[in-house]
């Protein structure tokens, strides 16, 4: 095999390799890919099956949450809950929705429930540290209000570690 043949082969390999490179991995460092399945007629995957970042809140859900906050400030927790749940149906994977629901339950004095919604929000925040911090700080407030001082310190520590 001449050098020319080797170079052609190398170029061909590189070209194939480039074609086989999955998309936007750079933006999702941690996100893995999964092999193309052995499924007949399956179209190639267009994105990764797991994500490092949380889901974005849709503008209309953001609008509903803002209105919910307005009602909450005015003391209408039922009204706020209605709007936040509407937002949840639109953006059920956005951390902000769960934080808002947590805040509403906190305003109602239902700390146990508030904590659960905030925990869920933290799960949804992904690698967004600012959102994670928001969540842990909310948990500090909720746990303190509930008299769980040890839990509040732990949450404080989690927020500080970010």
């Amino acid at each position: 095999m001449t050098i020319k043949h080797v170079l052609i082969l190398l170029a061909a390999v590189l070209l194939l390799a480039a074609c086989a490179t999955p998309g936007d991995m750079a933006s999702r460092e941690d996100a893995p890919t999964v092999e193309e399945p052995d499924a007949p007629e399956a179209a190639p995957e267009q994105d990764t099956p797991q994500r490092a970042t949380g889901s974005e809140l849709s503008p209309v859900a953001a609008n509903l949450l803002a209105s919910a906050q307005g009602l909450l400030n005015g003391g209408d927790t039922d009204g706020a809950l209605n709007l936040a749940q509407r937002a949840h149906r639109i953006s059920p994977d956005a951390a902000e929705v769960y934080f808002q629901l947590g805040e509403i339950h906190m305003a109602r004095g239902d700390y146990a429930r508030a904590e659960q919604f905030v925990l869920k929000g933290i799960d949804k925040a992904g690698n967004n540290e600012s959102q994670q911090r928001t969540g842990w700080q909310m948990l500090v407030d909720i746990r303190e209000s509930d008299g769980d001082m040890a839990g509040a310190r732990e949450a404080e520590q989690r927020a500080a570690n970010l």
Binding site: P37, A39, P49, I90, D93, A125
Partner: protein, 777 residues
Amino acid sequence: MSQARTAPRKGKSQAPRKKPPRRTFRWKSLVWRLALVGLLLLVAWMIYLDIEVTSTFEDHRWEVPSRVYARPLELYSGAPVDIKAVEEELRELGYLPVSATPRSAGYFSRSGSTLVVHTRGFRFPDGDEPGRLLELGFSNGNLERFRVLENEEEPIARLEPQQIAGIYPGHNQDRVLVRLDDVPPLLRETLIRVEDRNFEDHFGLAPVSIMRAFVANLRAGRVVQGGSTLTQQLVKNFYLTDARTYQRKFNEALMALLLELRYSKDDILESYINEVYLGQAGPRAIHGFGLGSRFYFGKELQELELHEIALLVAMVRGPSYYNPRRFPERARDRRNLVIDVLESQRVIDARTADKARSQPLEVVAPPREAVNRYPGFMDLVRHHLERDYSDEDLESAGLRIFTTLDPRVQESAERQMSNMLVAIEQDEAPGALEGAALITRRESGEIQALVAGRDPRYSGFNRAMQARRPIGSLVKPAVYLAALEQPDRYTLASRLQDEPFEIEFENGDLWAPRNFDGEAHGEVPLHRALSQSYNLATVRLGLDIGLESVLDSLERLGLRYQPPLYPSLLLGSIDMTPLEVAELYQTIAAGGFQVPLRSIRAVTTSEGEVLSRYDLDLRRQVDAGPMHLLHYGLQEAMREGTGRSVYNLIPGHLHTAGKTGTTNEGRDSWFAGFTGSHLGVFWVGGDDYRATHLTGSTGALQIWGRTMGELPQSSFTPVIPDGIRYDWIDEETGAITEDECRGARQMPFIEGSQPRERVACEDTVGGRIQRWFQRNF
């Protein structure tokens, strides 16, 4: 007898002079006494009737069935709904298409991929949604542009919800209550002019009319004519039978008088408008103009035009005889007669009358709310309502029940179930297979669809709620979860032995589990044992971590009763209904948070006051880390494992997670899985537990895939939680290797549990170049 006859004669001859005055006295006294008794009887009768009239009038007036609504369709920029679905929803709601911009509520126009809709207002549990003019632009299967004309700031609107059922009292009367204030003045006017011209002035009876009818009846020798006022008609509808007797007429007259004494004209007219019988839809009797308007024109009462009002009033005289759907000519003649009356009495001018007379009847097909469209789902709604409401309240208090049902999802699941059962039962006797399904919103647990059997209109055995069947491999995620919650012992890369073995019980019985394909696969990584649903490896794993641990994970996922702890539990020898399975998988789908399944969002009074609300709730049951690992395994099951054939039915880019389940001899075919949008649990099998050729993937999964394939979907792409790292694992050895190495796959580990062993990546020069390229670009 002969002695009795003779005795007075003797008496007569013995005391002739005293007899006459005594006889007069007795006669008068008798008359007086009889009159007194008659009067007392009449008074008693009047009192009885009065009690009857007042008590029944008050109660009966408000005996209204409860209405059950589907979810409202939410419209906003980015809503995952295409133009076809919105048009279908509008037609279901009785909106009529027009060519120009709609000028009043209940109409819409379409131009290319844009809809302009004039919505009706609606009172939701969380407040009033005003009627608005919306412009909706669609592209790529989504609502891309949403605009409220006249108020551009508004980002979202809701259509009124479809009514999917009514909960009727025993007599099956249905009505939509209207207040007199909301009744179009023209309807009131037309009704009075046609049915009872002197309504405003009389005291319940119209003596002239009665005399006229009396004479006519006397001549005919039977009752041929009525001189009834609206009050009398109301009394007749309320309290009396249809029999045309003088006794009934007498009672009717008395009760009409009493009603007029007790109540105002407006009260009586309002009751009449809500009570009047206007037709029949199967067992359901259509009462009142409010419902009549919807039933015949698909419109609200306030939206009716003159010719439509005239038709409704025309039908009062005989709703069956003048039924415009069955006898359009007859109905049209009588309608025009009503218009003639209005014209002759100068309620309307000649031009208006001419125009109205020239209009077609414009009666719509009977709306689908006329039947209980989704009896299977309604079973669930009734079941939930029973906790908080009595039957009596549900049947007569006019409650408004707002459910989570999505008609589009429901119709799709029903259709796919019925069609696919026919297709997959080729090897069986026709009709041998049954099925059940539940579809929920993945994160909220709202039940969007429930299919109770292959005939969705059949109201009877509800398989989704009542068919308790062994769940087979659907139990396996609980086994693997229990293992993955012990990261120091098990990871996705752990090696399991998929080799045959026997267990001997205390009573001497032997149990030797087998794989579905009858093969043993030797040493396999844990993730593959799950995605390929290997029985031998699973039972070994489950016995190693202990049945108690598996039960604990099942209970945290939502199992509500304790099954017997036999090793066969690890292969799903536990009986559950599709609804119970959905509860379990909802916890998995919602990332380890248990989310109660809900079929109802709220219940309000007919006035809109909220009586109950059923809000979103959740509680963490499984930590995010182990749940993420389980999700990975269930995603692999769909891409590479027992669920992979689903990608013949859904787009390749749609990420899903799920598990198939098959029980011995194909008696049950299960699939439970989710996309980003929906969780679906499907079951197929024979009611008689017959053996079939089906597996979970050739039966239930095929219906799941087709249903999900025709609904708007988002991918299930779980967020990688804190404390999870991804490493490249060599499939042969289970050791860490270089990124992108051939024969390696990237998989998640709870931090610290990743394998300690490393192996060099041994592949070709080309492979190395490719990996170098992939790492750097």
